[in-house]
């Protein structure tokens, strides 16, 4: 049986559709069905007797939606900007490291392996008003009590959420950039050097432009991840304003079943907004690779 499956995998003859079938079963059969079922529920009246747009109108008229959307976009943009700037800088500096480069790259993969829930807990231990950084501040005499410490968790602006994402996504961007650097190779920068370009000029006019497309698509991935974020804002955010996923989940699991179609409409609006990002990502990676292959790693 196993051998047969393997033989089938290796054969060129099996039809395209046949080999795509298992993946299609998940993507269309499960994900697609889920979306359609959700959509049907979001446009049906409670007795399922008629079509209605009231839940979408409700989302549009809901003040909390716009507050939540603003916070979500802010957190996603801030996390993406920090992760991109710091991640690229980190990769560039590490590529200059004379020794221990292998160790540095191995260490960098650590945060990738730490799930968001655990990272959020670490961030909490670090930056809560009685967290380790506040204690350090007290030890060196900056503050005298926890209340003196700025509110970095459960705060209005999602600072704790942004920091937790930075800790996870800076290494991600650094790893992607490192892979891109290896792919580019040192030759172009060397040519520029022989032509008299300074270190800064080589970075500005040779290396960064060649890295740019790959970096932008990795940044868009981070943006999409943070936009969809649930676990981190669930642990580090405040109830209001809360990020989009957190509110949708709260309403979906609320005891009032009338909240459900409303939560579903809310979640579908999120999916629509995120789909636009994905479309941008695809258009971009198509330009990068020229063959329609998205840069995943």
């Amino acid at each position: 049986m196993f051998a047969q499956v393997m033989r089938w995998l290796g054969s060129q003859g099996a039809g395209t559709a046949f080999r795509l079938a298992p993946v299609l079963l998940i993507v269309v059969g499960l994900f697609g069905t889920g979306l359609v079922a959700a959509f049907v529920e979001s446009i049906s009246t409670p007795d399922a007797g008629a079509l209605t747009g009231r839940y979408y109108l409700g989302v549009a008229r809901d003040g909390e939606f716009w507050v939540s959307l603003t916070l979500t976009l802010w957190v996603a943009m801030a996390s993406t900007a920090i992760a991109t700037a710091a991640g690229v800088a980190l990769a560039l500096l590490l590529s200059q490291l004379a020794t221990r480069q292998g160790l540095a790259y191995a260490l960098m993969q650590f945060p990738l392996a730490v799930p968001h829930l655990a990272m959020a807990f670490v961030v909490l231990l670090l930056i809560a008003p009685s967290g380790w950084i506040a204690r350090f501040g007290a030890a060196v005499g900056w503050i005298s009590q926890p209340a003196d410490f700025p509110a970095l968790v459960y705060d209005r602006y999602g600072i704790g959420i942004i920091l937790a994402y930075a800790a996870k996504e800076i290494p991600f961007l650094a790893i992607v950039t490192t892979a891109l650097l290896v792919r580019i190779g040192p030759e172009y920068a060397r040519v520029a050097a022989t032509l008299g370009a300074s270190r800064w000029q080589r970075l500005r006019y040779v290396t960064l432009p060649m890295l740019a497309p790959g970096i932008v698509s990795a940044s868009l991935m981070v943006f999409a991840f943070v936009f969809a974020a649930f676990e981190t804002p669930f642990l580090l955010g405040r109830p209001y304003p809360a990020m989009l996923s957190v509110v949708a989940e709260r309403r979906y699991l609320s005891l009032d079943l009338n909240d459900r179609p409303d939560a579903i409409a809310w979640a579908l609006v999120m999916t629509g907004l995120a789909a636009v990002t994905v479309q941008a990502y695809l258009a971009l990676s198509r330009r990068v690779e020229g063959r329609g292959r998205p840069v995943v790693f």
Binding site: T16, L25, G34, E41, L107, F110, L125, W132, I170, E249
Partner: protein, 262 residues
């Protein structure tokens, strides 16, 4: 001279950042997990105890069962994801067909868009099919992000794979089975291992999908972690977080050398 010093300072900063990102989380969790009292403003716990670990290891905490359940679900997800992704990734890497762009878009959607809407729809379907609140249902819903992710990663592996090697083996009389086991599989193995690792990690970290489809009745480690954190006992929460992280760290340590080859 000053420029040189500034440069090595920047490198030192980079090295420190990497070390901090990697080591601080683990160290902090380890210290918090053995703190009995950790009063403000002490930098380390004022009293140490293994209370957090004792509680975690006690039968009442239910960690053993949740650990087994999480491992089983994540292993199944990794296995199914790679098995489903391999044939599709080969097609995506080498063949042109109608609707390929649409398929790529459809693969990216579950990876990059919030899983919430689809999960709510799947929940409604599973409620009718009797799959809600079950381990099977939870495993199936974890496949939604894991399978497309593995497919996209393996498509990248196949794109770097030189198919003429297979032709050479075939010309030399290798059977399809021999071509697969002696040529294709060994070359693709690093990519397969990394894809399986990420599929495992996606399932392992999943809180929201497990909560919605499992209805709070399928208890995995992330659900316990949130429960312990909400309970406000840092020692138990930190110990739980370490138990949660340990398997993924071991897994990453084992596969780290394959990641560079991507």
């Amino acid at each position: 001279m000053r420029a040189v010093r500034a440069h090595s300072l920047a490198r030192l900063l980079a090295a420190t950042t990497v070390a901090a990102l990697a080591i601080v989380p683990i160290a902090l969790l380890a210290i918090a997990s053995v703190g009995r009292h950790w009063y403000w403003p002490s930098l380390v716990p004022t009293e140490w105890s293994l209370r957090g670990w004792d509680y975690l290891l006690s039968d009442g905490a239910g960690v053993g069962a949740a650990l087994g359940r999480s491992l089983g679900i994540a292993a199944a997800v990794a296995l199914i994801a790679v098995a489903a992704a391999l044939p599709a990734a080969r097609v995506l890497a080498f063949e042109e067909f109608r609707g390929k762009r649409l398929l790529l878009f459809a693969l990216l959607l579950p990876v990059l868009t919030p899983p919430l809407a689809a999960a709510m729809g799947v929940h409604a379907v599973f409620l009718r099919a009797g799959l809600a609140d079950s381990v099977v249902g939870v495993t199936l819903v974890h496949l939604i992000p894991a399978v497309p992710y593995a497919t996209l990663m393996l498509t990248g592996s196949f794109a770097n794979f030189d198919r003429t090697l297979e032709d050479q083996a075939r010309t030399l009389g290798a059977t399809p089975w021999a071509v697969w086991t002696r040529v294709t599989l060994p070359i693709l193995l690093p990519g397969i291992i990394v894809a399986a690792t990420f599929a495992f990690l996606i399932s392992w970290s999943q809180y929201l999908l497990t909560l919605i489809i499992g209805g709070g009745r399928v208890i995995t480690l992330p659900l316990l972690l949130v429960a312990f954190q909400r309970a406000g006992d840092d020692a138990v929460g930190a110990a739980m977080a370490l138990v949660f992280i340990a398997p993924t760290l071991v897994l990453f340590a084992l596969v780290a050398r394959h990641m560079k080859e991507l």
